[in-house]
Symmetry: C2
Subunit: 400 residues, 2 copies
């Protein structure tokens, strides 16, 4: 069975992460995503762990796609992509403002070729304003949107970054949903449209529900930082770290029994949920001391017997071997002829009728040039000449 | 113009955050989302800042929806929701495994009433496995998925939580996209389906692209933690904190000029991007020292003149007043008759033809009982009787 977006063709002119991860979701869901790269290739092809010439990060942002590597500064290259646009449902780009117009693939031109196309522009800051001219780095968005403020160290007052690119990846998810909504609307109305998305806007919206919402009521504003006092829910055991949470009365009583400290259930500081919230710091100090007495496996077993939500803090190499992760089949390993065994997480959402799936690992640069040109009607001789004239380019796997 | 999901009706049986934020996105995009709450109401109605009886967090997770408050333990209440299901396109629930069946609204029953419904189940851990029986807390998912590992303190080795509920909100976005994809597929195939989503699966997939991808190639695995050594990109100024990033040669040269330290461009430790990566810690130490000499406004102006990406680290109360945030119109203020002026972030994705928008603030519990029952064909007397018999419930705003 094909995925829910079977039959949709996406021209993907994006690089880095925010655009590519969005189109990867669509590709895993069955869309034919053609990644159009300049001769130098997406810069992410050089980022992080590289194995036989393939970057693990690039692969993890560009699964299930095809690659066309074409020099858009040549007339023939530009004509080729315009030809592709005629049969495309979506075009996605994340260049800086006005760059796509200068490349000759602005919305006006593309819409003339394909009137009902969904044209998607992902930017860092929007089209105008004090930061719009800046190159976009995830760290700059983290600083501006309040995420670093959320991570402020309670003791030193120093803000901190989150060490995964939350703005990039959250923008990917938001973009994938918006593109899908625009495709749904086109199905009903017959009309395409332009969908615009800025990372900054995305992050302000993403953080708001609990992290910024104390600013909601102008008549009773509160400082969002107040909600975040106190230590976090990570506890050191005799041999590692766990998390444990006792929100309800039953969970708190269970936790006290798990510690062998039943008398704590009588302590007035912790008798009700409200009291436990009020005396959060004292309670967590006690939890710290009690949990530190046990090895991880033993205290987790005791908490589980008492129906207290708890889990070990896993390192990423441990995550992929965790029994729940294995039970859910989240991590798939496939044998690739060039790369050997490759690990990837399957698409998170599971569809009973139109399953999403990893259809292939990421393509080598230009791997699908010939197939795509054939579909456009170029014959073998023309395809060979385009390669010779360096209009299209192709990279081979390196020796292992 | 209506939003892209105009004409879609969603029965929203979810509580807390992951489900409600997903359906809020659909509601802002034009879907008629009916939030079905038990007489006690979604527990989030009591969480965080509360103004005249309305929680800021609840409001920020439930905009643009209607509320039906009904006791599903009564035969009449259950019949009412089943009647609603006949005209619904989507039903979303995030109860623990098997609970929805026990309530009499399992997929089999609902699909008989509406064969092409998109039935959506959001869970913490999936349907089976060692954690599936646990109540879901965001902190437990953070511990299991590797997010706390990513936040490990380099010096002490202690893992840390991210202090915003990333698993909950990332699951919302992933769910909203999957629901929209299932609606798109139904438009083409005529078939509904069951979409299942676990927070744990979502987070493993979300973190992978750069944070876990060193585990991609089984033949050349690397420890993901190695990629994260070194201080982060936050720098103390004379009067605050900023971020600044110099990745390209031009940006590095610009940064040295902004510092008045042109001679650093000649330093062989920092001459190339590769060298700067290798000597990251030394370079950031120098950046720390130089940036500390300037007030925030002055060093940001100097960096901007030299085309170096940089920004202040903003507190959340500052975010809403930032010139770029204002330019983008991210924060909207509307006057509510009960709540006074209310701040909310508008939907991040902007559609030219089918604009998404905040259609209303979150509903008071049961605010739309009468209107929804009327649409179902109940007359005024029947509606009054249902309220008297306490099948439906309603909460009024409190005095200010």
């Amino acid at each position: 069975m094909p995925g829910p977006l079977d039959g949709i063709r996406v021209l993907d002119l994006t690089t880095m992460v925010s655009g590519p991860v969005a189109t990867m979701m669509l590709a895993d869901q069955g869309a034919d995503v053609i990644k159009i790269e300049a001769p130098a290739g997406d810069i992410m092809r050089q980022y992080g762990v590289v194995h036989r010439g393939m970057s693990a990060t690039f692969l993890s942002c560009n699964r299930s796609k095809r690659s066309l590597c074409v020099d858009l500064k040549t007339a023939e290259g530009l004509a080729m992509v315009r030809k592709l646009a005629k049969a495309a449902d979506v075009l996605v780009q994340n260049f800086r403002p006005d760059a796509i117009e200068r490349m000759g693939l602005g919305e006006d031109i593309v819409r003339e070729l394909k009137p009902d196309i969904v044209f998607v522009s992902i930017s860092g800051f929007g089209e105008s304003g004090p930061y719009a001219h800046q190159r976009v780095y995830d760290s700059v968005i983290q600083a501006l949107c309040g995420l670093c403020d959320i991570q402020t160290d309670n003791e030193t007052g120093r803000p901190h970054m989150v060490r995964t690119i939350v703005p990039d990846k959250t923008t990917s998810l938001t973009a994938a949903q918006a593109i899908t909504a625009a495709l749904f609307a086109r199905e009903r109305t017959g009309k395409g449209q332009h969908v615009r998305l800025a990372m900054l806007d995305t992050m302000v919206a993403y953080l708001w529900p609990e992290a910024s919402s104390p600013l909601t009521f102008l008549d009773s504003e509160q400082d969002p930082a107040q909600e975040q006092a106190g230590p976090d829910l990570i506890f050191r055991t005799a041999d590692g770290y766990i998390t444990a949470a006792a929100v309800t009365d039953a969970e708190w009583a269970g936790m006290c029994r798990a510690f062998g400290r039943e008398e704590l259930t009588l302590d007035p500081r912790f008798k009700t949920a409200a009291a436990r919230g009020h005396n959060r710091t004292e309670r967590r100090t006690i939890m710290n001391r009690e949990i530190a007495r046990w090895p991880t496996a033993e205290i987790l077993a005791r908490l589980d017997r008492e129906v207290v939500p708890a889990a070990p803090v896993l390192k990423r190499a441990e995550v992929i071997a965790d029994p729940q992760v294995v039970e859910n089949g989240i991590i798939e390993v496939r044998e690739d002829p060039d790369l050997g065994p490759v690990r990837q997480p399957r698409p998170a959402a599971r569809f009973t009728e139109t399953p999403a799936e990893i259809r292939s690992v990421a393509p080598w640069l230009g791997a699908d040039n010939a197939a795509i040109l054939e579909e456009l009607g170029y014959d073998e001789a023309a395809i060979a000449r385009l390669a010779e004239d360096r209009v299209v380019h192709r990279q081979e796997p390196q020796d292992g």
